[in-house]
């Protein structure tokens, strides 16, 4: 008896807990940090379940790019009804995969610096890419890419690889949009200042916090985390006069969903105050609708770029491969 119980327990651990089958289930694929204890997941899940009489299953599948490749692997047979967290730099490829269907929701007025009328992807938060530095170690950060191109070689930055990380891809598109055909020259000029190129944001940010480099590619809102959660005001984002490239994170409904109505209901929830109010201090990004309670204090001290840059879905997909080839050529020299 005892051994039966034990093996049942072990089996249970291996197989994962079963789920209640009496309520409809909505499966949402998203990136890892969304569902972590510090992410928005644990806050929004009960809020949505209270209104939908359904079981919301948030499934983390790695980072944004991993979520998409997993959906592509599963194709039509995917259990997913909704995907949450594809950003604008990969939504072009997502669109081309033909896995998604129109949301059919009339968008309310959005707190986005760019116009948004995409029929498939609904934005849920956004931010600007920026180089973050430590004010106690760097008093005069570069204020433009032109500055950055002329800093001495001993000035070091850490960036992420565009092939494995969204900020990395964001920087690629940022420089491409500002400099167009001269982008490769810009990369060649800043190449000596690139200390290293990491696989993901965590590695880069970790190295930066350990004091390895003067600046790290992150978000304009990163200092808000240190300010609000750690009462540390020593981190700041360098404002670049050329403008800052944006990251808009989106949600979309899978064509293969067996719960299209519930999925639509979830997307409407994504735009609601309940969901949006959870974003700033969990994802450390801007919500697409300002919550009734306003943005948390501290967000007002973040830099506001003078110019917001963003390729449309189609353009991003078109320039991506060319920009990547230029990047590799310039840095491999």
């Amino acid at each position: 008896m005892k051994s039966t119980l034990l093996s049942a327990a072990v089996l249970g651990i291996f197989a994962g807990a079963g789920t209640a089958q009496d309520r409809p289930e909505l499966v949402v694929y998203t990136y890892d940090s969304f569902v972590s204890e510090w992410g928005p997941g644990p806050i929004i899940e009960p809020l949505f379940e209270a209104t939908c009489d359904c079981d919301l299953k948030l499934v983390p599948a790695g980072d944004g790019a991993a979520v998409l490749s997993r959906l592509q692997l599963e194709g039509q047979h995917s259990d997913a009804d909704v995907v949450l967290g594809l950003d604008t730099s990969i939504s072009g490829s997502a669109l081309a995969s033909g896995l998604f269907t129109a949301h059919g929701i009339a968008l309310p007025e959005l707190n986005l610096p760019v116009d948004w009328n995409d029929p498939i992807f609904i934005p849920f938060d956004w931010g600007y890419f920026a180089f973050v530095y430590d004010t106690t170690r760097l008093s005069h950060p570069p204020t433009s890419f032109t500055d950055l191109r002329n800093v001495p070689d001993s000035f070091k930055i850490i960036i992420e690889d565009p092939r494995s990380s969204t900020p990395g891809l964001g920087l690629l598109l940022w420089i491409k949009q500002v400099f167009g055909d001269d982008a490769d020259q810009v990369w060649a000029d800043i190449a000596p200042n690139i200390l290293t190129v990491t696989a993901g944001w965590s590695e880069a940010y970790g190295l930066f916090l350990q004091g390895e480099a003067d600046m790290v590619l992150s978000y304009t809102t990163s200092p808000a985390y240190h300010l609000i959660a750690e009462y540390d005001d020593s981190k700041a984002a360098a404002a670049f006069v050329e403008g800052h490239y944006m990251q808009v994170e989106t949600a979309a409904i899978l064509k293969s969903s067996d719960q299209p109505e519930l999925a639509r209901q979830f997307l409407e929830f994504v735009l609601s105050d309940d969901f949006q109010a959870a974003i700033p201090t969990t994802n450390w990004m801007y919500p697409v609708r300002i919550p009734v309670s306003g943005l948390p204090s501290g967000f007002d001290t973040m830099i506001v770029p003078t110019k917001s840059l963003l390729f449309s879905n189609g353009d991003a997909a078109n320039v991506r491969d060319e920009a990547l080839a230029e990047w590799i050529a310039a840095l491999a020299r």
Binding site: G16, S36, P60, R70, T196, Q210
Partner: protein
């Protein structure tokens, strides 16, 4: 005679041989099958991935140099450890296991806290008016790979030193054999037998190294096949390209295994009464100083980063980690112990099978046992996903898949210790057992077990500890409440929880090493 002894045992246990081949077939099909699965699903309209050849060149370069440096520098270190006896030597040898068990990112951050731009080494350089140390690029990759693999190779060679019969040392002393003579007649045959295998192991491990190469590499100059595979899977979603690159990787690794098999010295263990070593070649003052310097320098290099990891993580560890940590710890321990038991079982079965005969078929089987190390973990994860998805929910099987992959990856490591141990037992006690008419289980218990006990413990220890720390493929399968410790650490990092992540890293280090110590040391206490 020897062969007859092996056959003798097996004749009574035909089933064991079948089991051996089945185990080998299993790991081969999991590793190679996953490549085939990826190839099968891929869309073969795109041609051969461009840039593959330049990434192949860099892969070979970094893995080759890493392996050479490790092997060359592990010789003096293991020799110093073999010649000298001092208080804490046993603990030091066990502690050497630590670096190998660290998750890549933890090791990188630990090393950078010492050798990075704001580490003490750079601090000293700047103080004396030099530029801070910049190790990014090939030197950084080599440094981290050296840090990871030096201890492993040292352990393997250390085993080799202790396999030289003490009678030979006494004979050498009687003949007043010194210097080069001593080296060529006693030490070189052992090195020729052990070093090629050690080289190969490090070479293969470095071939599929990903996070280290990317973080330390400094940019796209350092593009390896593994990164190209990652790009094909994630960035381009071109499965056919990923499969071709994976085939290329298998091909390269296959060739290197074959090449090494050709130069590797035959295993020849002299008979011994097994008395303790009393080496006569370490008398000179200069040798003593050199050995001391070697041991102290290596310890400083290996342990300073580890101490730094512990100290960074200690505050979070003491002030309390999130609750999810403890469940993840339990899951990690479960995975680690299950993988360890399976690995030891399969490795023993395979090793005894390989020991039975020395024909072409078994040589081929031995070479095939390296295969899992040649497969990119990304391809293995994706392939398993493709294979499981039509039949079961991959999420539900996350931990099972993790155990399978860990076992597949650890069997080649375990075999490197077990195959020579079995061969040694056969050569030393085969005839004796035969003449005493020992069979089956009795022969195994009396003749084999004493010789293989230690390698078995070491294999079990290293598998358990590695499976604690290995992120492997679980990221592709894990559910929010089903992650292991390394995955949790990754998630903490991605949520700005750097302090908690450091705490988890320290916990992981303590647990991995605790397991390793407990399993590896148990044997010697019982000696």
């Amino acid at each position: 005679m020897d062969r007859r002894f092996g056959t003798l045992i097996m004749a009574s246990n035909r089933a064991l041989v079948v089991l051996g081949w089945t185990a080998l077939a299993l790991i081969t099909s999991v590793s190679f099958g996953s490549v085939l699965a990826v190839a099968f699903v891929g869309d073969w309209n795109h041609g051969f991935p461009i840039g593959a050849l330049s990434s192949l060149r860099f892969t070979l370069l970094q893995a080759g140099i890493s392996a050479v440096i490790c092997v060359v520098l592990a010789v003096p270190l293991s020799r110093a450890l073999a010649c000298r006896s001092f208080v804490g030597r046993r603990s030091l040898v066990t502690l050497l296991g630590v670096p190998f068990l660290l998750p890549a990112l933890v090791a990188v951050l630990g090393l950078l806290s010492i050798f990075g731009r704001s580490g003490p080494v750079s601090g000293a350089l700047v103080y004396f008016g030099f530029q801070p140390l910049n190790i990014y690029g090939l030197p950084g990759i080599l440094l981290v790979h050296f840090f990871f693999n030096l201890p492993l190779v040292t352990r393997l060679i250390l085993q080799g030193w202790s396999d030289i019969p003490s009678e030979q040392f006494r004979l050498a002393a009687q003949l007043d054999m010194r210097g080069a003579n001593f080296f060529w007649s006693l030490e070189w045959p052992m090195l020729r037998r052990v070093l090629p295998g050690a080289f190969l192991l490090v070479f293969l491990l470095c071939t599929t190294s990903f996070a280290v190469v990317l973080t330390m590499g400094g940019g796209p100059k350092a593009t390896t096949l593994e990164l190209a595979i990652f790009q094909a899977l994630r960035f381009d979603f071109d499965l056919s390209a990923a499969a071709q690159l994976a085939f290329l990787q298998v091909l390269v690794c296959g060739f290197s295994v074959l090449a090494v098999a050709l130069v590797q010295g035959k295993s020849a263990f002299g008979t011994t009464l097994g008395s303790f070593h009393n080496r006569s070649d370490g008398d000179g003052t200069w040798r003593l100083i050199a050995d001391c310097v070697t041991i102290i320098a290596a310890s400083a290099f290996l342990f300073l980063p580890i101490i730094s990891i512990l100290f960074t993580g200690l505050p979070a560890l003491i002030s309390g980690l999130p609750n999810s940590v403890w469940l993840a710890t339990f899951r990690s321990l479960l995975v680690a112990l299950t993988s360890s038991v399976l690995t030891v079982f399969f490795s023993l079965v395979i090793a005894q099978m390989l020991n039975t005969r020395q024909d072409l078929k078994t040589r081929f089987a031995e070479i095939a046992s390296y295969l899992p190390l040649a497969i990119s973990p990304f391809v293995m994860g994706t392939g398993l996903f493709i294979m499981i998805n039509p039949f079961a929910d991959p999420f539900a099987l996350a931990l099972v898949v993790t155990v399978i992959v860990n076992t597949c990856l650890c069997i080649p490591l375990a075999l490197r210790g077990l195959i020579p141990a079995f061969a040694k037992a056969r050569q030393r006690y085969g005839r004796l057992a035969l003449s005493l008419d020992l069979h089956g289980w009795t022969a195994f218990r009396v003749a084999f077990w004493p010789e293989i006990k230690q390698p078995v413990r070491f294999s079990a220890a290293i598998t358990a500890a590695l499976s604690m720390g290995d992120l492997g493929v679980i990221a592709l399968f894990a559910t929010p409440d089903g992650g292991t410790l390394p995955l949790l650490m990754q998630r903490l990092l991605a949520s700005y929880q750097m302090d908690a992540a450091a705490g988890v890293a320290a916990l992981l280090l303590i647990l991995s090493f605790g397991l390793f110590w407990f399993i590896d040391r148990g044997v010697r206490i019982g000696h």
